[in-house]
């Protein structure tokens, strides 16, 4: 790995950590449940990115499988939450 890519990966990890912090803040604060679901979906998407960066850093391509599975699981969880919100009974978040 060339040193340029090595330094760039550190910068990217830092940027994604800051981004995760912002999304986590929305997850804690988000006034309604759909806001939290949106934040969770973004966190899953960013975790896919972090796994991709980690695969480059370690040089192991097996991590890409994990990213693939996580991408599918995030979609299923979002659909499940949407269905729960639409068809579910009483909630107390707003």
């Amino acid at each position: 790995m060339s040193p340029i890519l090595d330094y760039t990966l550190w910068v990217c990890f830092a940027v994604l950590s800051v981004a995760l912090f912002f999304a986590l803040w929305r997850l804690f604060k988000g006034p309604t449940l759909p806001d939290r679901v949106v934040a969770l979906e973004l966190i899953a998407s960013m975790t896919v990115g972090i796994i991709g960066l980690y695969a480059i850093r370690t040089g192991r391509d097996a991590f890409i499988d994990v990213a693939m599975v996580l991408a599918i699981t995030a979609f299923l969880s979002a659909i499940g939450f949407a269905r729960y919100l639409e068809k579910g009974s009483h909630r107390d978040d707003h």
Binding site: L16, F22, P34, L42, I56, F75, L85, E86
Partner: protein, 132 residues
């Protein structure tokens, strides 16, 4: 060497778009604008990072897997955003106070989950059902 630099550029661009998506979800005022920020930028960020992965491992199996990740996120993210946005509107998540246009206002029946083409048509239908 040159592929490493290209991979670094792609990964950096992907991380930047992820940060933009995250700032959007942090700063935007209501649910729909937050979703507008996250769904597009998040998918673009993940796709660019996967492009960087493809360029770093120049290998057909890794390229196929990374393309699969890109295809999954590109196909599923609009569907998930549609489902969450629909659910959010139907359960009455408040819109931003500066929202100019709400086309569904008065056309959606919260009890029956039916959309009407206009408020007048909804009233006509209610009159019909009360007469019957």
């Amino acid at each position: 060497m040159i592929t490493d630099i290209l991979a670094a550029l792609f990964v950096l661009a992907g991380s930047f778009f992820m940060l933009v998506a995250s700032l959007g979800v942090f700063r935007m005022p209501d649910l729909l604008t937050r979703m507008h920020a996250t769904t597009k930028s998040g998918v673009l960020g993940a796709g660019l990072i996967m492009c960087g992965v493809m360029l770093f491992f120049i290998d057909s199996s890794v390229t196929l897997k990374a393309l699969a990740v890109m295809a999954f996120t590109t196909l599923t993210s609009p569907i998930a955003a549609h489902a969450i946005g629909r659910a959010g509107y139907f359960i009455g998540v408040p819109l931003w106070h500066k929202t100019i246009k709400d086309e569904l206002h008065g056309r959606y029946d919260e009890e029956t989950h039916v959309l009407h083409s206009s408020a007048a048509q909804k009233e006509a239908q209610e009159e019909n059902s009360s007469q019957n």
